[in-house]
Symmetry: C2
């Protein structure tokens, strides 16, 4: 990398859009279009749990969540659930986000981690869970933890004037499709691109010392203090804190956990609204 | 284009995979992997009507087909149907094809016509139909006819060692997602790439003079005689004949309409099995 490449990369912003209710995708798209017109480079990573749940219910395959012995909850993804996840997340959320951006004049490019081997993950072949007080092992789960992101592919799209929009699926060592956590996918993408800023948009104003009391919002926190934050982060926020740790360890300039329900969520986060972590 | 570029393009093969029952996607993928290993360049375009119909039924929005005054039948695509189409075709068929190719060691790259503005189409804003003997106009339909394909985008993917796998969605002038006919999308892609061969795989051995009598298979036909073929082509075969005309008029070397139900369907078509049109 020469100096201009480094500068270029540092100006890249990776934004994770939650699938949570209340997060306004159209406001995010309008904000993104304005920032792109102003010369920023953006990469969007999205979730889609709510859409996957709704589709699963509609086709008679409601979501099942399992709990690990250490208390983490995750979606149980057998093969049928994986296909429903692909339809909802890659088929609907990704396609409609790309459409929305294209109507705003943004040359969006939707892809998942499978395409061109963008994101490779290690499949969690056996998952320990606790069900009705008993420990069990699940062996047919298609979830994974990302091990590598091909930054050159994203860089080529950015250089071609495209805005990548990434769905949280990755390739296993065997080429299987795996469901991956979108917050941590965004963190790995940001690290691979050596992005200046990773913004994790959610349906709360940021990290709170005593959730859900918004007056306890933490405006700034150092990477060193993040470990303690894992203690008071609730539910999904735990994965955002893990993602923030991974991104900073990977060389990302700063991470902002910010409110996705406001009019200009990305601009707001860039101005420091939310919880800034560095 | 210099001479080596022209030679390069002429060696490109565009293959349309039907969504029709009986067409064996896994045999097509294995055949594709073998040909790629032998140095061929492939671009795949797929349909997904059967998957879209099945998903529509499952979520309580069964497909509706409408008939034009001149007797052509097409899928009525209101906004909800478009979303179902995107889920089934872009979310499921495309993702699982990419996965299947990746497990075979092919660096497949799935995209739809929305991504990076790959395929732009003119929306059919008002569709004339005949229903219960009465003429009607539908104004909420999201289908279109392709007007341009960005060959440079596909060329860049091919040069990066990827095999593009294209879902039949395109962008309207306003950036809306449109459902497009996959056979004609494949023809436009082949023309844009100045491909040497366009192969349209289907669930019959080729074009027959008296469908379904397979002994009337036409092994070879000139582009000039295709107009007459529109007379005896039945149902979906009409769109393949239209696609073949468009591809040849656009500079594609030859078009082969071939059987997708056999063990090596692409290799067979390249060897001239099916109906060869030039």
């Amino acid at each position: 990398m020469n100096k201009s490449e480094i500068k270029n990369r540092k100006s890249t912003i990776v934004v994770k859009l939650g699938g949570t209710e209340g997060v306004d995708f159209s406001a995010i798209c309008r904000d993104a279009a304005g920032l792109l017109a102003g010369g920023h480079k953006l990469v969007l990573v999205h979730g889609g749990s709510a859409e996957a749940n709704a589709l699963g219910e509609a086709v008679g395959c409601p979501p099942r969540f399992v709990t690990s012995p250490s208390g983490y909850t995750s979606r149980y993804t057998d093969r049928r659930t994986l296909e429903i996840f692909a339809m909802a997340v890659n088929g609907k959320v990704n396609t409609l986000l790309v459409e929305q951006l294209q109507t705003l004049g943004v040359n969006a490019f939707g892809l998942s981690g499978l395409d061109g081997g963008l994101m490779r993950a290690k499949r969690k072949a056996a998952i320990r869970i606790v069900e009705n007080g008993k420990k069990k092992i699940l062996r047919d789960d298609y979830t994974g933890k990302i091990e590598s992101v091909d930054a050159s592919l994203l860089q080529a799209l950015l250089e071609a004037g495209c805005t990548p929009v990434i769905a949280p699926l990755a390739l296993s060592e065997k080429g299987e499709a795996l469901n991956v956590d979108a917050d941590r996918a965004a963190a790995e993408v940001a690290a691979a691109l050596q992005a200046g800023t990773l913004i994790l948009l959610t349906a709360v104003p940021g990290l709170m010392r005593a959730f859900p009391d918004e007056s306890t919002l933490i405006p700034e926190i150092s990477a060193a203090d993040l470990e303690a934050a894992l203690g008071y982060a609730q539910g999904r926020m735990k994965k955002k804190v893990l993602g923030a740790q991974e991104a900073l360890a990977g060389g990302v300039g700063r991470v902002v956990i910010a409110d996705g329900r406001v009019e200009q969520p990305i601009t707001g986060a860039l101005a420091g609204r939310g919880t800034v972590i560095r």
